[in-house]
C-alpha cells in the first residue's frame, strides 16, 4: 500500500495539493514497497479517476480494519469444518449454513468494493476475481441442494467445502501463497516428465518382480502371498521409494535367496536415491528461476513507477530536468506525513548533494528507498533511576553492582546456574528438596532480570529487536504466574490441574534455551533460522490450503469407518477399531485407531503423519480395507502433492536462504544509497551497535551488554543518524532485490511496463553463463 499510496500521492500533488492521505506506517524494508507497487500494478487498484470520493473509497478499501475483517471472515469460513458433520464440536446445519452465507456475503461485498476502485476492464480480466465469484456461486448452489435434500432426510455430499481455500488464496493479501502456487504450477511440466519416467521405471521393476518372485510361493511375515499381483507389486514398490516398507518388502525374497537382494538394491539406488534427488533438483531449479524472475519484475516495476512520478513533477533547470526542493519536500510529507523536520533535512542532504536547491532524476529515483531507511536519534537516554535519584544510582555501591552485571562473569555464572537447573529438572521432582530448588531457580532468574533492568536503560533492554531479552522475561514472568497459580490451586483444593502443570514444565524447560545465546556460532544459526521464520509461515499457509482440501475429501470418504475407543478398553470391537474388516490388519495391530478422519483435527494429524511418510502404507492399507482398494489412490496423490512437490519446495527454500546467508558472510553488499550515507558520515552500521562497540543504551542493540568503553563514544555521537540495516536482519527477498538493483545502471529506464509484466523465468539465464553462477 505505501507504494500505491505514494504513486497516488504523486498524482494528486498537482490537482489537490491540500488533501492529506491517511497516515502511512513507515514500512520496514524496500521489498515491501516494491511488492506493494507491484501488487498495485497487477490489480490496477490505483484510482484512475481522481475524484475525492473515489480516493476516499480507495483508501477505505485499503484501510487495515477492512483487511482484518476480511481475514476474520476467511478464518470463520475455514473453521466451519470444525462444526459441520463430521464435527469436532457439532452444531446444527442451520447455524453453520447461516454463518457460511454471512461469510459469502462479506466476500462478495469486498469484491464489489474492489470493483468500484478498479477499472472495469482490469477487474474482469483478473482471474482472481472470477475465481472468487464462481466459488461463491458454487457454494450457494451446493448449500441449497444439500439443505433441501437434508430436509427430506437424504444425506448428500457437501463438495463445495473443498473450495473454501480459494478465498484464502485469491484475496490480494495472500500474495506470498499465490506466488508459491504459481511457482508450483510452473514446475509441473518439468516434474511431469520425470514423474512419467519414474513411473515407467517402477512398472518395469514391477513386471520383473512379478516374474522373479510371483511363482515362488513365498509368503510375507503375515503369511500372505508375496508379489503375486502386478497392481499390489506396483504399490509396494511405490512405497519402497518412500522407504516406508524397507526392509520388510525385501525380506521374503532375501530369505529365499541371497542374490535377490541385488534386485532391491538396484531398485533403491535408481528410484529412491536418484529419482528422488532429480525431483528435488527440478523443483529447486524452478523455484530459483522463478524467484529471480519475480524479484527482477519487482525491481523494474519500482523503477518504472518512480520514473512516472518524476515525469509528472519535473521542471527544467538549465539543461536537465529536476524536481525542485519544495516539490520534493511536499511529496515526502504527503507520502510520510509524520516525518520529522531534521529527518527530512537529512534526506535532502543525501538527495541534493551539491545544495543546489533541486533534486536530479537519479537522486529522485532513490526516494522510496531513502524513505525506507530507518533513522535513529542518538541522544543519550539516561536511566530513569539516574533521573529520579541520581545520588543513589551514582553511589559507589550502585556503580559496583552495575559493573558486576556488565561483566562477562555475570553471564557465565548464569550459564552455570542454567546447567544446574537442567540437571535438577532431569532428576525426579517427587523429592521435596528438588521442588523447593525450583523456587530458588525461579527467584535467581527474577533477580537477574531485575539487576539487568537496574543496569541497562529499560527502553533499550526491551528494544524492538531484543528477541532474547523479550523471550527471557516473558518465559520467567509466565513461569512465575503459572507456578503461583498452581500452588494456590494445589493448596486450596488439594488438586493438581494437569494442563497447568504441563505448562509449568514446558516453561521451565524453555528457559534452558537461553544457553544458546552464550555461544556465538549457535546464535548465528538461530538468527538465520529466525529470519527465515516469516517465509516459513507462508509455507504454513500453503500447507494449510492443501491439508484443508485433502481433509475435507478424506472426511467425506472415510469418516466413521474407523473408531477410537479408550486405550484401556480391550473389547474385541476396540481392538479392531470398531470395524471387523480390520481384523488381523497391521493397522489394528499397531493401534492406529485414533488415526482417523472423524473430525478436522484428527484428519490434520493423519495428514501430518502421511507427510512424515513413515508407515503411510499401513494407514493407506487400513483405510483401503474399510472402504475399497481404490482408496489407496487418495494416499498416493497426497504423497505426490505434498512430499514430492511441497516438501521439496520447502527444502529448496531453506537451501536458498542458507546459501544467501553464507555468501553474504564473506562479502559486502551495499546499495548506492548506503555507500553515499557512509561517505557523508551520517550512517551507523547496525552491527556496530549490536556488538556493543557503541553506546550501550540505545534502543537498537541486540545482545552482548559488556560494553565498557561505551562512555567515551557516547559523548562523541549525538544527533540524527541513518541506521543501516544489518546484513543479519535482512530478509532474503530484500537482499536479492538489493543485489539486483545494484546491477541496474542508474540511467537504465528498464523495459516497458508490458514487457516487465510478461517476464518469463526462461529469460533469466545469461547467454553465456559464467563460472560463479553455474557451480
Amino acid at each position: 500500500m505505501p507504494g500505491a499510496g505514494r504513486a497516488a500521492g504523486v498524482r494528486r500533488l498537482r490537482p489537490q495539493p491540500s488533501e492529506e492521505p491517511p497516515a502511512q506506517e513507515e514500512d520496514q524494508d524496500l521489498l515491501l514497497a516494491g511488492a506493494y507497487v507491484s501488487d498495485a500494478q497487477y490489480n490496477r487498484n490505483v484510482p484512475f479517476e481522481t475524484s475525492p470520493q473515489a480516493i476516499r473509497l480507495y483508501y477505505f478499501y485499503n484501510h487495515w480494519t477492512m483487511q482484518v475483517a476480511i481475514y476474520f471472515f476467511i478464518c470463520v469460513d475455514l473453521s466451519l469444518a470444525l462444526f459441520e458433520e463430521p464435527a469436532l464440536f457439532p452444531l446444527p446445519f442451520l447455524a453453520t449454513s447461516i454463518a457460511e452465507v454471512l461469510c459469502l456475503t462479506a466476500f462478495f461485498g469486498r469484491l464489489v468494493h474492489f470493483a468500484k476502485v478498479t477499472p472495469q476492464m482490469v477487474f474482469w480480466k483478473d482471474t482472481k476475481n472470477i475465481c472468487i465469484m464462481v466459488t461463491i456461486v458454487l457454494t450457494l448452489i451446493d448449500l441449497i441442494i444439500y439443505g433441501s435434500l437434508e430436509a427430506v432426510n437424504i444425506h448428500s455430499v457437501r463438495w463445495s467445502r473443498a473450495l473454501r481455500p480459494v478465498f484464502l488464496i485469491n484475496f490480494p493479501e495472500s500474495r506470498q501463497i499465490r506466488r508459491t502456487f504459481r511457482s508450483i504450477r510452473n514446475t509441473l511440466p518439468d516434474i511431469l516428465y520425470v514423474f512419467l519416467l519414474f513411473m515407467f521405471s517402477v512398472l518395469i521393476f514391477s513386471l520383473m518382480a512379478l516374474k522373479l518372485f510371483g511363482d515362488r510361493g513365498l509368503q510375507t511375515v503375515e503369511g500372505l502371498p508375496y508379489f503375486t499381483n502386478i497392481l499390489e507389486i506396483a504399490f509396494e514398490l511405490y512405497v519402497l521409494v518412500t522407504t516406508a516398507n524397507s526392509p520388510d518388502v525385501m525380506m521374503p525374497a532375501y530369505n529365499f535367496n541371497w542374490w535377490y537382494s541385488l534386485y532391491f538394491i538396484t531398485y533403491i539406488i535408481i528410484n529412491t536415491y536418484i529419482f528422488m534427488s532429480v525431483f528435488l533438483a527440478v523443483v529447486y531449479n524452478n523455484y530459483r528461476k522463478h524467484l529471480k524472475n519475480e524479484i527482477r519484475k519487482l525491481a523494474y516495476l519500482k523503477r518504472h513507477k518512480m520514473i512516472e512520478a518524476f515525469n509528472i513533477l519535473k521542471v527544467k533547470v538549465g539543461t536537465e530536468f529536476v524536481v525542485t526542493e519544495a516539490q520534493w519536500k511536499r511529496l515526502a510529507r504527503i507520502v510520510m506525513p509524520h516525518i520529522s523536520s531534521p529527518h527530512l533535512e537529512l534526506l535532502l542532504r543525501i538527495s541534493d548533494e551539491g545544495q543546489k536547491g533541486h533534486v536530479d532524476k537519479m537522486n529522485f529515483l532513490r526516494l522510496a528507498d531513502l524513505l525506507n531507511i530507518q533513522v535513529v536519534t542518538i541522544n543519550i537516554k539516561r536511566h530513569p533511576l539516574e533521573e529520579w535519584m541520581p545520588r543513589v544510582y551514582q553511589s559507589s555501591a550502585s556503580l559496583l553492582v552495575q559493573r558486576m552485571v556488565r561483566h562477562r562473569i555475570f553471564v557465565w555464572v548464569y550459564d552455570v546456574i542454567i546447567l544446574i537447573n537442567a540437571i535438577f529438572i532431569a532428576l525426579d521432582e517427587k523429592n521435596p528438596f528438588i521442588s523447593y530448588a525450583e523456587w530458588l531457580f525461579l527467584s535467581l532468574y527474577i533477580i537477574e532480570i531485575l539487576l539487568k533492568l537496574y543496569t541497562y536503560e529499560p527502553r533499550a533492554y526491551f528494544g524492538k529487536k531484543q528477541f532474547w531479552n523479550w523471550f527471557d522475561t516473558l518465559i520467567i514472568i509466565a513461569a512465575l504466574v503459572v507456578t503461583v497459580a498452581n500452588t494456590t490451586i494445589q493448596s486450596a483444593r488439594k488438586y493438581n490441574s494437569q494442563q497447568i502443570l504441563d505448562i509449568v514444565l514446558i516453561l521451565r524447560i524453555l528457559r534452558l534455551l537461553r544457553i544458546i545465546v552464550s555461544i556465538q556460532r549457535f546464535r548465528l544459526i538461530v538468527t538465520t533460522l529466525i529470519n527465515i521464520g516469516p517465509t516459513i509461515l507462508t509455507f504454513g499457509g500453503l500447507v494449510l490450503v492443501v491439508y484443508y482440501v485433502f481433509a475435507i475429501i478424506g472426511m467425506e470418504a472415510f469418516h466413521g469407518k474407523v473408531r477410537f475407543f479408550d486405550p484401556n478398553f480391550t473389547t474385541p470391537d476396540a481392538l479392531v477399531c470398531g470395524n471387523p474388516a480390520l481384523k488381523d490388519s497391521a493397522f489394528a495391530r499397531d493401534r492406529y485407531c485414533k488415526n482417523n478422519f472423524n473430525d478436522l483435527a484428527s484428519s490434520f494429524i493423519v495428514l501430518m503423519e502421511l507427510t512424515v511418510v513413515n508407515q503411510w502404507h499401513i494407514l493407506a492399507g487400513g483405510f483401503a480395507l474399510v472402504t475399497h482398494q481404490a482408496a489407496k489412490l487418495y494416499f498416493i496423490s497426497f504423497h505426490v502433492v505434498v512430499v514430492i512437490l511441497i516438501v521439496n519446495i520447502f527444502i529448496a527454500f531453506i537451501l536458498e536462504a542458507f546459501f544467501v546467508a553464507y555468501s553474504l558472510e564473506k562479502s559486502e553488499v551495499e546499495t548506492a544509497i548506503e555507500k553515499k550515507i557512509q561517505e557523508l558520515g551520517v550512517g551507523i552500521q547496525e552491527e556496530e551497535m549490536q556488538d556493543g562497540k557503541l553506546v550501550d543504551n540505545m534502543d537498537t542493540k541486540d545482545s552482548g551488554f559488556s560494553g565498557d568503553d561505551g562512555d567515551d563514544k557516547r559523548k562523541a555521537l549525538k544527533g540524527l543518524y541513518f541506521r543501516i540495516a544489518s546484513k543479519k536482519y535482512r530478509t532474503m527477498d530484500a537482499l536479492l532485490q538489493q543485489m539486483f538493483e545494484s546491477e541496474i545502471a542508474p540511467e537504465d529506464e528498464g523495459p516497458s511496463l508490458d514487457e516487465i509484466l510478461n517476464f518469463s523465468p526462461g529469460d533469466i539465464y545469461p547467454k553465456n553463463p559464467n563460472f560463479e553462477n553455474s557451480a
Copy 2:
C-alpha cells in the same frame, strides 16, 4: 599422465630431442589433462633429473600394467574379508595371511618405486605415503600378534582389517575419492556446530518428554513403559528425526490426550524438517565451494605449466617471443606420436592464423586443449554390401527396404510391438500359446537388428556413442543365447535351471526399456543420468570404503549373535534367530534373522538397509538386545556418517549436475578455440550429427536414423573436420573448467604456483556477489 608426459616432453626437447616417450593415448577431455598436470604437481613425480634411466623408471611407474597390478592387489586385499572368519567362503588363517603379506609387499614395492621417481623432500612431506607405510607396519604387527595368539588358541581381534581401505584411498589413482574425502573433512567444522545445536534441541525435547509423559504410566503397543528413561527418550527422539518410528512413537501420548500431538508436530517441524534441511544446505554449500576451488586450481595449474613450456621453447622474432613452427610440430609429435599429418596441419592452421611460420604465446597456451579436440574424417563410408554386391544392394527392392527401415513408421511399429510384448509378459506364461509368442517376439527383434544393419553402415551403427544400439543388440543376443540354452537343457534333462530362467526373464523385461528412446524428453533425462554415471561410481568407491570399515567393526562386534534358519523351520530357536535374548522383540517378530553380521555380504546388506533408514531402530534394538545397549552407538554413528554426510553429498552432487545441465540448455558455452574453429569453418557440431541432419553413416551419430536429406549434404562434406564436443556429452567437471577458463584473460599469467596450490575455498567468493550467482 598426458599432462605430466607433456611437461616432461617439453623439458626434454632441448637436451635429448631424439628420444621419444612411449605412446600416449589421446586423452578425451580437457579435465583429464588438467587433472594429470595437477596430480604431477601435487606429487612432484615429474623426474627432475633427466637421466634416461630415471625417465625410463618414471614411465615404467606410470605404465598401465603397473596400475592394473596395483588395483588387482587392492581388490585382493579388500576381498580377503570374504575368506577370513567370519567368512562367506572360509579359508585357513595361514592362506589369508600369506595373501595379505603378498599384498602388503606389493604396496610397499609400489611405494619404493614411487620414492625413486620423486624427490626425497617431496616424498616424505606427502601424508599419503606416510599413511600407507604406517598402515603396512600396523597390519604386520596385528598379523603377528593375532597369529601367535591363535597358535596358543587365544582368539583376539583382527583390528587392522578396518585399515585396509587406506590403500584404496591413498594410491594416487584414487584422486576422485580423495577429493570427496577432502570435501567431507572441510565440511566437518560447519556441520559440527549445526549438529551440536541439533543435539541440544533433541535433549531439550527429551527433557520435556520425560516431564510430560514420564509419570503418566503410559504403555507402548508392546506393553513396555513409555518415555520413562531420559536416554531411551533421547534415542527414540533421534530415531524420530529419521522418521523411522513415526507415528508409533506418538501414538500412546496421542491416544492419551489429543493435545500431546502438538509436541510431536513441533518436534518434527523443527528437527526433522528444518535441521535436516540445514544439514543438506551446509553440506551442499561446502561441496559447491570446494568444487569451484578445485576447478580453479586445475585451470590455473594448466596455464602455469604451459607458460613454463613456452618459456623453455621461445625464440625472439621481431618484438615478440614465439615458438617456431618446426619446434611446435616436433613438440606436438612428441606428445602425441600417432598424430596424422593432415591433423597436425589443421592444428597449425588454427594456431598460426597469419601463416607467419611461428606460433605466438597466446596460441601456444592453447596447445593442450587443441590436442584434446577430437578430429573426425568425413568421408563417406560405403556399406560393405554395397561394395561386395553393388547391383543387389542398389536394386529397387533393396532400396525400398532401406527406405522402409529409415522411415519413422518403422520405429512406431516396433514401439507397438514392445508394448504388446509387455502385455504378454505380464500375462501368465504357463499358457503354451504365450510361451510360443515369446519366440515370435525374439525373432521380430532379431529381424529388426538385421534390417538396421542392412540399411546402416555397421561400423556407424556400433559407433562409440551409440549407447542404445549396443544396449539393444547385447540384450537381444543374450536373450537368444540364454533362451536357446534353457530350451536345450529343459528338453534334454526335463529340468528348469532357476538361475538361467531368472536371467531370461530379466533380459526379456529389459528389452522394454527401448521405449524410452522413442520419447525425446525421456531421452534427455536419461542422457543426463548416464553422463552423471562415472561420478556416481566415485560415490560407489566412497561408500565402499565407509561400508567396509563399518562392516569389519560390525562383524567383530556382532558375528554369530544372530543366526538365520531356513524360513520353513518353525522351531522356537528359529523364531528367535537362535538367540533367546530376542524373544518377543520386534527384530524377531519381523523375521529379520537374515539381517546379521555373520559374513561380509550379509553385513553389506544390513548396512544398505541402515542407509535406507527405515526400521533401523529395530535392527539397532535387536543387536543391542543380543550384546549391550551401547551397541546402539554403532548404529547412530553409522547414521551420522552415511545418511547425514554421504547421502547429502550424493544429493548435492545430483542437484549440481542437474543445475549445470539446465543452465546449459538455455545458453551457449564455447571456448575460444571452438569459436575460432567455427570461424575457420573446419568444425562440426556434434549435435548436428546426432540429430541426423548430416550424413547418416558417419561413426559419430547418436540416434534418430530418420535422416532422409542426408544424401545431399553427404556430398558437400568431405575431408578432415574438428568434432566439437556436444554439450550433452561433456562431463560436469569439464564444463565448469571450460567456463572458468573462458573467464581468465588470455594474457593473465595467473597467481604463482604456491598461491595456486594453497587456494582455499573461502577465497572463491567475489567481494560483491552478484544477483545471478546468489539466487
